[in-house]
Amino acid sequence: MFETANPETLRQIGRSPARHDAEDKITGAAVYVSDMAFPGMLHAQVKKSPHARAKIQRIDVSRAARLPGVRAILIGADLDYRLGLYVVDKDILAKSEVRHFGEAVAAVAADTLILARQAVDLIEVEYEVLPPILNHMDALAPGAPLVHPDLGKYDYVQAVFSPQPGTNIANLTRCRKGDVEKGFAEATWIVEREYTNPSVQHVPMETHVVIAQWKTGDRVEIWTSAQSPFTVRDLFCHAFKLPPSNVHVSIPNVGGGFGGKAGIHLEPLVACLSRKAGGRPVKLQATREEEFSLLPCRSALTYRIKTGVLADGRIIAQKMEMFWDAGAYADYAVNVTRASGYSAGGPYEIPNAWVDAYTVYTNKPYGTAYRGFGHVEFFWGLERHMELVAQTIGMDPLEFRRKNLLRPGSLTLTGEKITEHTGDVRKCLDAVAASIRYGELTPEEKAREARAGLKIGKGVATLHKAPAMPSNTATSVVVKMNSDGSVLVNVGLTEIGQGSTTALAQIAAERLRFPLNKVRVTIEKDTDRDPYDWQTVASKGLILTGNALLLACQDLLAKAYELAGQALRAQACDLDHDGEKIFVRHNPDHSVKFSQVALGYMFPDGNGIGGPLIGVGRYIAQGLTNLNKETGQGLPALDWTYGAHGIVVEVNPTTGEHHILKIASAYDVGKAVNPELIRGQCIGGMVQGLGTALCEGYIYDEQGRLLNPSFTDNKIPTTKDLPDEIECIIVERAQVDGPYGARGVGEHPMISVAPALGNAIRAATGAELTHMPIRSEDVWRAMNRKEPVETWITKTPVGSCKTLPVGK
């Protein structure tokens, strides 16, 4: 809900105070699960499959069990539990079959890490290696081997997903708006192309790590580097059939998540090891190599788009087919498919639309939530396609986009009506185009081209995303007043680096009219102490938790006023307050300090009234609906955040080497609560988007082994990979139901960076890139119309530097 505060009088909102969690992080005092240890704690290691698809014929743990210091060993047969957020398709340890390279087949807990590693090496596994199904398009062919032959028997969330038993399709999401065939019949042009991108990894600087302790009475303590404490608890309880009050999840500082730590991952395995070890705490931290293959990644995508355009350049029909490579397990991928399915057309008016989005199983490490939840992947194809359509019909790509943008009154793919307050995508697009001087080369740019023999090109791309979340997503906040009148705020929303702790403190301070130093939002999460929040994902934290916080502040003030009214013998409606005290509006000297009512009020004669002041607020997404499984119609979107990028790129026409001279990015954030935090998301997300665009991507051999499971060959951007100039532009078209008008922007900066770059490279050289990443060799090939590099599943041998040194 929107506080109709006068922007002139806002004192906290719109400022950029330093983060509240900065001090511990800059001094090294911040504790992460990786830093934690407990008395008697054991260390765990996992035995992983070297094969992409194999039957486990035999596992012999006897030699490992005899190693002194080994306290527990588990194999798949020991654990009869099934996991799965939406489709329950995963065992904790592979049972009779492994389905991806790096899958866990056994686990050991021992006194030391080295002992655990030695024990794992002593576990013997006999595999019957089977031919893997690696390419998701092959997995769709009739007669393809099935990754999950028992798909028809799995539990799944029926209201939302549609697995197709007897196939490798874990989910099919459909959206039908209008009549596409009729639309195509009316079209003057029809443009069709396919776009692809590989899997990438989140690369949080802190890998996944868990400490778990399974105590007597089936009470479980879990410390985890995770984004969603209540999701960990609830999924854990669901899998092990325990009541929520038996399981206690704690999250200290988190060294990055990006969606990879959104659900449940290593917690069940580690807890089971603890149970097997007689209740001793057990710690498991993934190595960086395990992070790339044991832990999940982001699904690869093939996106086919067919667009029909009228003579005047308006889109009349669009058919969109998405084929998501989920890997071996459905995890979040089925929901990524759904959320992308309903968003697939981008911020454009598409009167007749058809979307079929498939989640396809393959024998590869599986895809989970990743910043953007499918949008980084599909906007690559979509925004490259808008460019192609514009080129084909002879219209400038910027003009073509402007002509087709959603505007108030437009209907989205799901039938939602865009309003004046949804957001201003046009302004975002215009702002970036102006910033990069789209459509022309400046004299400096022309001189630069001539001097260096390079080509300069400019491209734009739009983006949009709504939070991908259940229609009844809810959150709650508790605000407790300390004896000195300051407040402590408990939220279930997790600080994973995005700065929610600080932004929420500013919102509370604004609403309470307190100075910022009188508000503290707790950082560590604890399911016993903090009130429920669904998950820290989806860029919904600021809106939902911010609103719940406003209500909690309102509740606190109401209770404070009630008490003050008694103390001052005044009616609540005659009271007002400032940062220190509550006073009678028409007699301001007649006042009582917050500190005097914080723990109840005491009259001069000693009588006490009231009690400790605690404000409670809760907020649920309102009016959202499930999508009709046949037509995709409904209202799934809490809000839409729009944005755009403009890129100026310089390309060497001989080698394909390229460099971004300038990137301008604009987002309609509704209201900037903390501009420096937004800038941090803006630049951080953009650079992560550059990683996807420039250098990241999983490469497998034909047996399904991951060839680049480390930083040696899975590069991410460094300080030297920044564009020369970066501009972040904030647009503020208020979100009516957002706190002070704010809406989320956590994921958005990563979306559409790649296609903006692809469009700019096309403008510079004519090279048509339809696959990511965009390395210099990819540009060279595209410029010279050569076959693109087969990067996902390569026929070429292992890297030249990997051979064992001879004689050693």
Partner: protein
């Protein structure tokens, strides 16, 4: 987390030679550790004993003499080379290659000798040492020998250094002083990366041009005896004849070949301007 091994830091050459003679392949020499520890962690090497060469008397530093040339000793790090005033003036090709080796932190530990003994085809220092006609001074209990780098590399991560030997010094001959040239390295990002291809070129005071290429064969490849005034096409042709790039996860062989040609042309242009 590393495989179990013992650590020894001998103080004298004699002690070092004795240990290497006794342990042979069960011992690994440690200098910078930036390759050795990575390999041990990956389980590629499992030494029983790690022998630290850095504390041996006479194994530190970089020095120059008119008679011998530039002498880089076993413990001399990449960053020491980059800080050495003499090297910057007289052997700019060494600086050009060193500058792009990994990151600042790695360069503070990685040694020049360690880089070439590791003998990765992607070695950044090997192309410079090949072009500058440097020699490896190798010693053991059995005696001493010098091997020019043109005869030093035998295969991928394979050199002529026997398990009981240590490369004590690299000698860059005085005749190579003042050789002009440069190094171009293809990376996948602007940030630190190994060389997808690497090309070094130099022209010495006598007017001989030499080109060395990394990541295009099992070993770094040297093409020598070129005329400083040779047309770029001829230089390219000579280099292309000598290399045999492959396709792998980093690049295809066509692109490697293409970029080697481009780098050769750039370097020829640069050295002539």
């Amino acid at each position: 987390m590393l495989h179990q091994f013992n650590y020894l830091a001998p103080r004298t050459r004699a002690e070092l030679h004795g240990v290497l003679a006794a342990e042979g392949p069960a011992a690994s020499l440690l200098a910078g550790g930036t390759d050795l520890l990575v390999n041990i962690r990956a389980g590629l090497i499992k030494p029983r004993l790690v022998v630290d060469a850095k504390q041996v008397d006479g194994f530190s530093g970089i020095s120059w003499s008119e008679r011998e040339g530039l002498v880089i000793r076993a413990a001399a790090t990449i960053n020491q080379v980059l800080r050495d005033a003499r090297t910057a003036i007289d052997f700019p090709l060494l600086v050009a290659c060193a500058r792009d080796l990994a990151s600042h932190q790695v360069r503070n530990r990685a040694t020049v000798i360690g880089n070439v003994v590791n003998a990765s085809p992607c070695s950044d220092m090997a192309p410079a040492l090949l072009c500058l006609k440097a020699r490896a001074a190798i010693s053991s209990k059995r005696g001493e020998r010098e091997v020019p780098f043109s005869a030093f590399f035998k295969g991928v991560k394979e050199t002529v250094v026997a398990p009981d030997e240590v490369v004590e010094r690299i000698v860059v001959p005085a005749a190579s002083k003042g050789a002009r040239g440069g190094y171009h390295k293809l990376k996948r990002i602007n940030g630190h990366d190994l060389g997808v291809v690497g090309v070094a070129l130099c022209v010495d005071r006598e007017g001989e041009m030499r080109v060395a290429v990394g990541s295009c064969a099992p070993t770094p490849i040297l093409v020598e005896g070129l005329d400083a005034a040779a047309p770029a096409d001829a230089v390219v042709a000579a280099v292309m004849r000598a290399i045999s790039p492959i396709s792998d996860v980093r690049a295809t062989k066509e692109y490697r070949a293409h970029m080697v040609e481009q780098f050769v042309r750039r370097l020829v242009d640069e050295v002539r301007s």
